[in-house]
Assembly symmetry: D2
Homo-oligomer: 268 residues x 4
């Protein structure tokens, strides 16, 4: 099973990059499942709506994951319950959390689970991601799901690596999101789980994690409120990774980072 995962799509430029390169990547790399993190896809960089979700699916996504910004566009509440291919972090707290934390696909007879999980260090209070993933992975194993992919939306390198090592040998891959910068540590862990601390973002590349830099710097300089706006011009980046999984064992054979940007133009 070959999985393609595209990191946090930010604003209009992020959508442009997806629409321009995702078809090419799919044609060249032939992934069987394509996952896109869409938590920042609105033009203000926070949340998603139904139109943009469909646009991501039309561009080639099979499943869209989210993160801490899942709920920032209120339109989400109107369609997430009926949209099985859009998943929010599994471990959001409370009763009757809208939507689902994972989805299951049948890919030519192989069961594939895509899970969205959120970390807690320096983030919103959520249910214990270790306990939640434990329960879900156990259930998926019982259901004979072999291929399990986790998009772990978290701030610190330590929480993402600890979670990957905790799940090593039990899932196919764990890839981090949220910091919007790709790390260079893609590798298969000792027991067979593919890992990448953070896949990075997709969208404007000249600002600060997708935002125009002047207001961000102003906030750092003054600690006073400052309205952040998504960068609409300049360089763009697409950050992704490609994972090959052995369908029999559910373990990873390889993970390869993908970067398309000014320094790394797409060569196909």
């Amino acid at each position: 099973m070959r999985l393609l995962f595209v990191g946090d799509v930010v604003g209009n430029l992020g959508m442009k990059m997806v629409e321009q390169y995702l078809p090419l990547l799919k044609k060249d790399l032939k992934p069987q499942v394509t996952i896109v993190n869409g938590e920042n896809v609105t033009k203000v960089g926070r949340g998603i709506n139904e139109k943009l979700f469909k646009q991501l699916m039309n561009a080639g996504a099979d499943v869209v994951t989210l993160g801490n910004h899942a709920w920032n566009n209120e339109e989400i509440f109107s369609f997430i319950d009926d949209t099985k291919k859009l998943i929010r972090p599994l471990n959001y707290p409370g009763k009757d959390v809208p939507g689902n934390g994972y989805c299951q696909l049948n890919v030519n007879g192989t069961q594939v689970a895509i899970i969205n999980l959120q970390g807690r260090i320096f983030m919103e209070e959520t249910d214990d991601p270790f306990a939640e993933i434990d329960r879900l992975v156990e259930q998926l194993k019982k259901d004979q799901v072999k291929v399990i992919f986790v998009d772990m939306h978290a701030e610190t390198t330590s929480e993402k690596k600890a979670m990957a090592l905790y799940l090593d040998g039990k899932i196919s891959a764990l890839v981090g999101t949220h910091t919007h910068v790709q790390t260079s540590d893609a590798h298969v862990l000792n027991k067979g789980t593919a890992f990448l601390t953070d896949v990075g973002m997709t969208g404007p590349d000249d600002g600060v994690i997708g935002m125009e830099y002047e207001p961000v710097i102003k906030r750092f300089l003054t600690s006073r409120p400052s309205r952040f706006t998504v960068e609409e011009n300049g360089s763009k980046v697409l950050s992704a990774c490609l994972i090959d999984v052995d369908n029999q064992t559910g373990l990873a054979k390889a993970i390869k980072p993908i970067l398309i940007c000014k320094e790394h133009p797409y060569v196909g």
Copy 2:
């Protein structure tokens, strides 16, 4: 001017990697200044002492930088004041902070400043890094210092990128440390400052940012105290970057990430 910067050296395995590869890197790449972050070089992974500082210098470091762990080994207070080539973050607060936040070298007639700076988001309370670097860079410019390198020890991608954009065109390079995982975004910013969000760490590679993973996972699972210990076995990594600076303008010509690990063996 060619600068080589090696990221956070962790424990015994970190020192081994430095002693094994730094001479080779220097022979092959011929940097004129070699900087090593030594904030985790003791065997417990926190702080530095005089013996280890000298060992880093003997292995080829010209300057050793630190970070939030600067003060964790109390021996530092006995020698940092007299050790100009060992620098702690510039913006530690208080009167009469031991040691210095930067050092200045004369490299074949070119003045080079190496600065250690610490971020504040999700970290210890320190003085404003933006205000402090502003003052220092202005003074260095007056003193005709052309080549200015900043090791910015910080947690978030946003604070490091914001600082780099704030200083773009005014300094030669800003490279992040502290997260212990190398990012894949090394590039020269639009106005000429080289940037890498995090250079990554040097030392044990199988655990969690240098630590054995069982106690770290135990802490995540229980939120109870758990004694962390530096990994003493298994795979090792050396994370670094190479920066070429135009001596006339003080701006960067190129920045190249360096990784030596199981997945990326050293090829010279």
Copy 3:
């Protein structure tokens, strides 16, 4: 049912205050259940051991509660499982957490539950206190437990008040601990639950929340490590509150704060 609750007992001076005044308070106020928070009772101000637990019980405690410092003295693991009258926060995460999060007493035929709960804002990551208390209170109601007291160990005023309002009418009383300073808002909420944001601490009163002030100020001034030590001299305080509960409804009739210190000497 009359309950007496004594806030965080800190170090040797804290134990002295308990031994000196708890017998007097019990004689004068005639509580049927006496609860003491003992999370800081060791001489270093962190954790508890079996000897000190017994000393608190001998001084008049019926139940001892804890908090985030529950686990700081490792001796706790050797006796908490067998010590039903010593309870740790209900919502510590993980499987097989040592000890219990509540205890149940039969007081002259009336069932009384004492619960220890921990907040999450600016504190260790724990399981959702709202979800955990919900489950437990429902179970206690089924078991015909009428009188329910919660020691909520939390940092912010907002989390403690929100929890009290969430439980208003369902439990007898919620009293906060952890900030070590008594608040002046003891009152019965609209639906009958007694509330006090924080009951305050018991022990040395001249320092910073029980600690000698020089090292604490030094830490604030320098952001460098500084060893904190419990104040062993000077003024002392005992902070407590008295709650009267209607045994039929389980609701509070009154809550009265108690302070014994230099400014408020004990008058009996």
Copy 4:
């Protein structure tokens, strides 16, 4: 010198309490200087505008202090520079911070300084409050200012107590704000500085620190965005304190907490 200090006035109900009781308090207690914290006085509970500032002054305030919400209503930028009796925290970072961090009054020939200071633990990044207050107090001493009052806007009890002990004997009084709940520890420290960890808030008393409780509880239950609104009905509170200072020494003779609420009706 007698000072009256009223804690964070929240929304419409807060203003009502000020307009109803401040004239009575002034008539009965005869303070020579009346200070009101107005950081939450807009109807949304965040920030201040010119009309509300004037309303507070008309109700009897001589000086209005602020806090972390100083900048939440953008109208502040249009008048704070010209409004010497409205002060924002001294230690906001950056160049040319609008407004002033303190103001100086001549009260029948005695110089009185009112300072607004902000803490850093669990709050916005600001300049070092210890270093900033040091500089200002030294300057005020040189200028023969005897009476110095500090409104320290901070989250934790430890930072407020540490600051008070740091300044003990050098200033007349330090009173905390920000947690919106009055503490019961008003006293004069050993070297003569009056202290109260938090004076508490003024306004709606039934919700969570002035806000309606349903949205606050919803946020705690779900960790999803929830619009907070100021409570417009129900019980009200006014929290304040009265401080008597010796004009010759500048040290405090007494500090007395004031609470007007359902449980503590005003008796004059």
